[in-house]
Amino acid sequence: MKYLVRAVVLGIIGYAVGVGLTMAIRGGGPTDEVAVVMGYILALVGWLAGIGGIEAFGRQWAGKSVEVSTDRGWRRYFEFSVDHKVIGIQYGVTLIAVLLIGGISAMIMRIELASPGVGIVDLDDFNKIVSMHGILMVAVAVAGIIGAFGNYIIPIQIGAQDMAFPRLNAIGFWLVPPVAIALLMSPLLGAFNAGWTSYAPLSVTNESGQILFNMAIVTFGMSSILGGINIITTVITMRAPGMTWGRLPIFTWAGLATSVLSFAVTQFFAAAVILVTMDRVAGTNFFQPEVGSSLLYEHIFWFYSHPAVYIMVLPGFGVILEVVTTFARKPLFAYKAVVVSLFAIVGLSVVVWAHHMFTSGMANFLHGPFMIITEAISIPTGVIFLGILGTLWQGKLWFRTPLVIAFGWLFNFTIGGITGIFLADVATDIHLHDTYFVVAHFHYTIVGGSIFALLAAVFYWFPKITGRMYNEKAGSIFGIWVTVFFNLTFIPLFWAGMNGMNRRIGDYPEVFEGANKFASVSALILGTSFLLFVGNLLYSAIWGPKVGPNPWNARTLEWMIPSPPPEHNFTSQPVVIGNPYAYGVKGSVHAYFPDDDNPRDIGEGGTSDEQGVLV
């Protein structure tokens, strides 16, 4: 805990030094944007040093030995821990907290939108809340699954004891709290009202909260890139003997594909906001009309932000595919085609960005090519669906909460994907762009595709992580409740968009009141379902029935170790000798532990029978 205190103290000192130096050199006040930028940078350095950077890196740079914490209690979750499992939980809890804060902002928005006219917030404040909601939720969608479960599960699934770069992994996580702090403190400087998309010139001329938004984006981007490097290196170099590429679990494949993307394109969002910051404080003119171009911002921004949605959804594909094979007790259908499709999506996703710009005033000749490739990306996405449907086909289905939520996912993402075609088509997009049709579409794909998968992952791996089972009835009820009310919230919004209601407005023509009221009531009921979600998990983590290594009778490596896993995951080297999804093949084994006396009695947390199943 003392490290957290030290991090805060050094952060504050860093901020003060940055602001003070700036004021001393150029004059001006402490809330000048230049001062805020310098203060933020030094605050970040102070924070990272304080939380453990000094021990983990500073000592090494000074020629001394590295010191990292070996605490095993609850305190390590508030410290610079290099254990990937601790980091995974840190990401998970932090991002679920961010999800709930973003959810509260959504509730405020929906209460305001339940009636036309100005209600509980004025129009400008409404835009600020919309912008905050957007960026908080984008952060959860981008990092939720890959940060929490990518870190926790991937090393175990490939038979490794940790990630390739454990200290970097910890830095990656500890970059995230400053992001939340910067965003949530931005109202002190006037907040930011240009949407999470922050188009220039509005983002160059609006209030100073925009600066903190820009700093937060760069910080979060660094975390994404470091995480990407770590996962790529780990999966390539640290697979257990016998873990050939053809035996890699699909969740790990999805994590690898995601990491290639996040490593390659995240810097463009950072670049865009850095240029905005420079236009604000350094007198540059990147986005000013006479010498620069507002279109330039859009191109740079969307060059990241379109692949970003695949960064959001690819881990989701991985989770759903993993859940479906386990709960159907069937091999993953068309495994090779699915893996190829994951990477086809990675490749295509970087050349479709301007489908967000069909009405932007960009050159007409760009419409055709971007429409073509956007259409094309639906083909590998369809193959992912084939993998899911083909695995379900004639499977032995066991409807536990992860599968219930996976079904909600399937319904939602199909609608999300189909409505994407309406937007890929230039003629229809011209009308639908910037309307509630788009809002409904991306909620179906991002919430329906990424967040629902996050929920499924939470229930699927909860017993592994906590060693206890959640309450199944509460879980299934939650799964159905969240699916039903999610749909009731967003279906009316397709209608509203088509019929002339545009985005990011706190007030609308009266004709849209009915649809909005219905959506608002549904949204509030949807929101309350998360009380059941959190309640179930908290209660079960403390008082739930204990489980053994493999309550689902699954086959991937994480189910062959105790629940919760021991410190370095494996007590002896796993050797992979078969496919992880060879259900139905008598005597097939995915991996074993040749150095153990009794390879399947893995102790701590419960004993197992022949198949490693809880008895």
Binding site: T205, L295, Y335, G382, T414, T428, I430
Partner: protein
């Protein structure tokens, strides 16, 4: 081996029919007030019909999963058949989805794009200047207005759009046309209005700013009135005459 494909195909057909029927019943588009609107609505409808079997397939598999493939036994239930892949299924799937994607790309993709753009010629040119938070209209004779946009029916009008500050967007929902207003660069949209009417008849006969531009974004709209060609010419003449120096607007 259980013949699962029979019930699934039956469900597939049933769901497809249901969705197609619902699509035909429920006309959920606003009234078409321009030639362009018809292009867009037709494209929307075609895509909805094409989407029906796709949605229906997923629904059919989901439905039969719950009815036909649920298994007792929990964690100790038996394994399913070890089907890793099926070359015919995968190939067929790829061929069908690619064909569907290609078809949609051509129609309503490129066909719709060509139709909504139309010819780069126009009967009249009207300029729109967007600024935080109102629109200023300039007619071909130099007359300006900020209280409404008046358009001649049955004439192809080119809208030249520009912004004086941040990004805005020129959108007339009733026409289904939209083009962003950029500072320093003039952008263009074409529309041929059909039928006479005004904002009082249909709330979608308005310019609505469709790009977040600040606090007043929600209310940055302008009513639209479509009148006959003769009436329009008279209107803009009267407007020009009533301006003191024929330059700035009346506000």
């Amino acid at each position: 081996m259980r013949r699962s494909w029979i019930p699934v195909v039956i469900l597939w057909i049933a769901y497809t029919v249901l969705i197609v029927w619902a699509t035909a019943q429920f006309t959920w588009f606003p009234k078409e007030w321009a030639r362009e609107a018809a292009v867009v609505d037709e494209a929307m409808l075609l895509l909805q019909y094409l989407a029906a079997p796709v949605m229906a397939l997923v629904l059919a598999v989901m439905t039969w999963s719950v009815i036909g493939w649920r298994t007792e036994g929990g964690a100790h239930r038996e394994d399913a058949a070890p089907v890793r892949t099926n070359k015919i299924v995968v190939t067929t799937w790829l061929v069908v989805t690619s064909a569907l994607a290609m078809y949609v790309l051509i129609n309503p993709g490129f066909v719709g794009l060509a139709e909504i753009r139309g010819e780069p010629s126009s009967d009249y040119v009207i300029s729109l200047q967007g600024q935080q938070f109102f629109w200023e209209v300039t007619y071909p004779n130099g007359a300006t207005a900020v209280d409404e946009l008046v358009i001649p029916a049955e004439a192809r009008v080119r809208y030249d759009v520009i912004s004086t500050d941040v990004l805005h967007s020129f959108w007339i929902p009733a026409f289904r046309i939209k083009i962003d207003a950029l500072p320093g660069i003039t952008t263009t949209a074409y529309a041929t209005a059909e039928g006479e009417g005004s904002f009082e008849d249909d709330v979608n006969l308005r310019i609505q700013c469709a790009e977040l531009c600040g606090a007043g974004h929600a209310n940055m709209s302008l009513p639209v009135r479509v009148v006959s060609d003769a009436e329009w010419n008279e209107y803009i003449e009267v407007l020009a005459d009533s301006e003191p120096d024929g330059e700035a607007g009346n506000e």
